[in-house]
């Protein structure tokens, strides 16, 4: 009897043994699959595309690994969430993922281009150092990954990465201190930003998105179909099912109601619509639709292209009560955009809606809306002085956002100011240390992620189940991604 019991216990123990995955790799995979499980199960092709993109370069991995950052932030043994300078009081409105490539140009209601945060997928309320460290880490990574063709320039930039973080933190402190909602319409000493404005203004005048995305057929503007850029064969525009196109006019009317200054309803008459696949990194699996609408007149010259992107939860934890700070997803996005920007109509076409049950964020698709890119950190845009100026600018932008009072609540600015001015030098030193250390961890994680993807395949080990297949109607809306290219 006793021998049998021991045997049963031994067999059970053997059955329960964990796989021999290295602990950090297991942590990575658990964090990513936990956040993406529904997409992996219901949209496996799209998740595969996302992970392939993350595996291709370290910065894309960083962009797609917010769930890992979230887990690390909560884990005191990692240290990225721990600070000697906590700010008590309400949490500031935060971007959630304010990395370098989530800043870019937006064309305001007055037609002026300004540098602003341009991605609000994760925007919510966060501890101030969540956002700040996400930004500083991204800048350290930019130093290490920029200047791809020039090893000497890269080494010089790496050597000054601590100064770059220092400039970011000092810029942030200035943004908090001044609390001025200054609009950044040009930065003379930051060549990367100067170049951004130059290209943005060029394409703004040319309405380059119309020529790039559409064609005129018998005087009627139509969106193109298929792969538009052979260098990126995963990104394509595809036909939408008729029933989903029929739902767009209603969705656009709901969207119109969320705009600060709404054009006439006729402005949003749908001329054509397509599904966009293969865009973004973290948001790769999300539903995206491009719609070309009539604009102010019947002339095809003033047609406008809008992007509808599926909105999801921010991923912010409950933090302080009440835990949720918005009535719904759309409310969260609208509120944080208007708190983040220097002027509420930094993009007058930025709004929200619901389409076929999907909560959607709507923005203008414009070639003038250039985004900062790590790959452009090279040459004159990739020297130390350029990065220092850029870092200070982005730090100040983030500080400006955190200093903004939120609806119905006092500003977090005073508490942050008290915290970070208690020992300014010590604060900066701590932030430098954390950013440099965490950036190294991200690069290590990137190698582990590639290993895991190689070993476990595109679902990262989440078992496939036929029952997860969406309904036929939903599959028609989701479509299929273009064939995912090899990532190594």
């Amino acid at each position: 009897m006793n021998a049998r019991a021991v045997l049963v216990a031994c067999v059970a123990t053997l059955l329960s043994c964990a796989d021999a995955t290295p602990a950090r790799e297991a942590t990575l995979i658990a964090a990513i699959t936990d956040a993406d499980e529904t997409h992996i199960r219901a949209r496996p092709g799209f998740s595969a595309g996302k992970y392939a993109r993350m595996a291709r370069d370290a910065y894309s991995f960083f962009r797609g690994s917010v769930p890992v950052y979230r887990g690390d932030f909560r884990d005191p043994s990692i240290g990225v969430g721990v600070t000697r300078f906590p700010a008590e009081g309400p949490l500031p409105p935060g971007l959630g993922d304010p990395h370098l490539e989530n800043f870019g140009l937006l064309e305001g209601g007055d037609g002026v281009l300004a540098l602003e945060p341009n991605d609000f997928d994760a925007a919510d309320r966060y501890p101030y150092h969540w956002d700040l460290r996400r930004l500083t880490t991204s800048l350290v990574l930019a130093c290490r990954l920029g200047n791809v063709e020039d090893a000497t320039a890269r080494a010089a930039l790496v050597a000054s990465e601590q100064d770059v973080v220092r400039a970011t933190v000092e810029g942030y402190a200035e943004g908090i201190a001044s609390a001025a909602r200054t609009r950044v319409v040009g930065v003379d000493d930051a060549p990367l930003v100067v170049d951004l404005f130059r290209r943005g203004r060029r394409d703004q005048l040319a309405r380059a998105e119309l020529s790039g995305l559409t064609t005129l057929v018998d005087g009627q503007r139509r969106l193109r179909r298929g792969v538009l850029d052979s260098a990126d064969p995963e990104e394509a525009l595809q036909e939408l099912p008729i029933h989903s196109v029929a739902a767009l006019p209603g969705a656009l009317m709901r969207y119109r109601a969320t705009l600060l200054i709404a054009p006439e309803p006729a402005f949003f008459q749908v001329l054509d619509a397509v599904r966009q696949v293969g865009s973004g990194v973290a948001s790769w699996p999300r539903v995206r639709v491009l719609v070309v609408v009539r604009g102010a007149t019947d002339s095809p010259e003033d047609d406008v292209v809008l992007e509808l992107k599926e909105a999801l939860d921010s991923g912010a934890d409950g933090w302080l009560p009440p835990g949720s700070y918005a009535d719904d997803l759309q409310d969260r996005i609208l509120r944080t955009t208007r708190e983040a920007w220097a002027v509420p109509d930094a993009d007058p076409f930025w709004g929200v809606t619901t389409w076929l049950g999907f909560p959607m964020q709507v923005r203008r698709e414009s070639e003038a809306h250039k985004t900062l890119r790590v790959e452009r950190i090279e040459g004159d845009e990739g020297n130390t002085a350029a990065m220092l100026a850029l870092a200070r600018t982005l730090g100040a932008l983030l500080g400006r956002m955190h200093a903004t009072p939120t609806l119905g609540a006092e500003s977090a600015r005073a508490a942050i100011a008290v915290a970070i001015t208690r020992d300014p030098a010590g604060f900066v030193d701590d932030e430098v240390s954390v950013a440099v250390r965490y950036a190294s961890r991200v690069l290590d994680d990137y190698a582990l992620f590639r290993h895991a993807l190689r070993e476990r395949g595109a679902t990262l080990g989440v078992p496939a189940d036929e029952r997860d297949r969406p309904s036929a109607d939903l599959r028609a809306v989701l479509g299929e991604p273009e064939p995912v290219q090899p990532w190594e």
Binding site: S16, A31, G71, G461
Partner: protein, 392 residues
Amino acid sequence: MGMTRIVRIAVVVFVGLAASAATARAQQPTTADSPQAVTPDTFAGETVGDVRAPIARGNIPFAFEPGVQLFGEYRLTLPRGADYFHEFDVPRAWAWMSFRASDVVGRVLLEATRAGGEGSLIGVGGDSLVLRLREAWAGYRLADLVELRIGVVPLPTNIMLTAIWGNRALAPIGLRQLGPYVLIQPSDLGATARLDIPGEWGTVVAALTSGEGYAARELNRGKTFELAAQLHPLAPFRALRPLTLTLAFQNGSTGTGSARANRWVGGLAWADPRWGVGVESAWILGLEDRGDREAVLLEAWGRVEPLEVFPLLLAARFSYLRADTQEGATMSSLVTFTGAIGIRVAAPLRVFVAVDTRLADEEFASAVPGLERTNLRLIVEGNLAGRFEGSL
């Protein structure tokens, strides 16, 4: 559907119910004062009691035991350094039906939960309270000593420690929930085997489960094994039987990365229905899907119903978590304390006023703003259960 047809259906249903009532020997809902109480209110535990064997005669005697348990509370939260918040909440709303037919046993237990998680804006119908399965299992009893169960089964460590604490409405055991950490699962998909040691020496339970808990799907090939024993080392001495030793071990994995989730648990308690004290300790190997993190949990609790003439209830629980005790890591600590005073308004109804305080060191507090907080709560706990017997 015409009105006549609706009336006919109603008559048929009514006659059917009346006939079944005549067959089944219905009893009044049981209470703590009844010798047949199913969920004695002094021991409102984490799970539902077993169904006693039916005493009805017939080819296949059977028994059904339906029940509900509800915790309703008003909670005033005072987070450190931030504005207060207050809300009404229903931390628990359970409804269950247990059955036993001969030696076949089973239960379905529904619980209310928020459709979206904490901080989530996506849920069913906004963020409605919805019902989900907490338990759904069928089993077989062998010689009234061994019980085998399969399905969504309750897990032993949580049951054993919560039952002797006896005040789940005030606070879960630290292993179940401590601040942001869920250290063990209360139920999971799998199978359990329980041995009731004759002579009231105690119970030993082995469980083999998916390991992800009842609210998630299996994500890896590893299965979680849990072995727990609750023993009364002085069982032969009636007066000393409340002395209770709890030992448990879990070897498990979570997530697609199969992160280690092992636990060693020990506890010693005096668990008399009127009063109890206990200390518990757990060694946590693997924390929050991070297999390399380790932690130590220490807990102490006490409860007493001090007066014979007045149903006054006093209870307190203290928990201390030392996280990241692994070599080379920066350790951090978290402390929670719950104290409560209450009365038993009626046998199945208890009301408490409770205060909870959660304190964290700098490492925890700065990484999780709002973790440090004090709650003042008014709690109402209701337990009702009934029993119906019959035979086929």
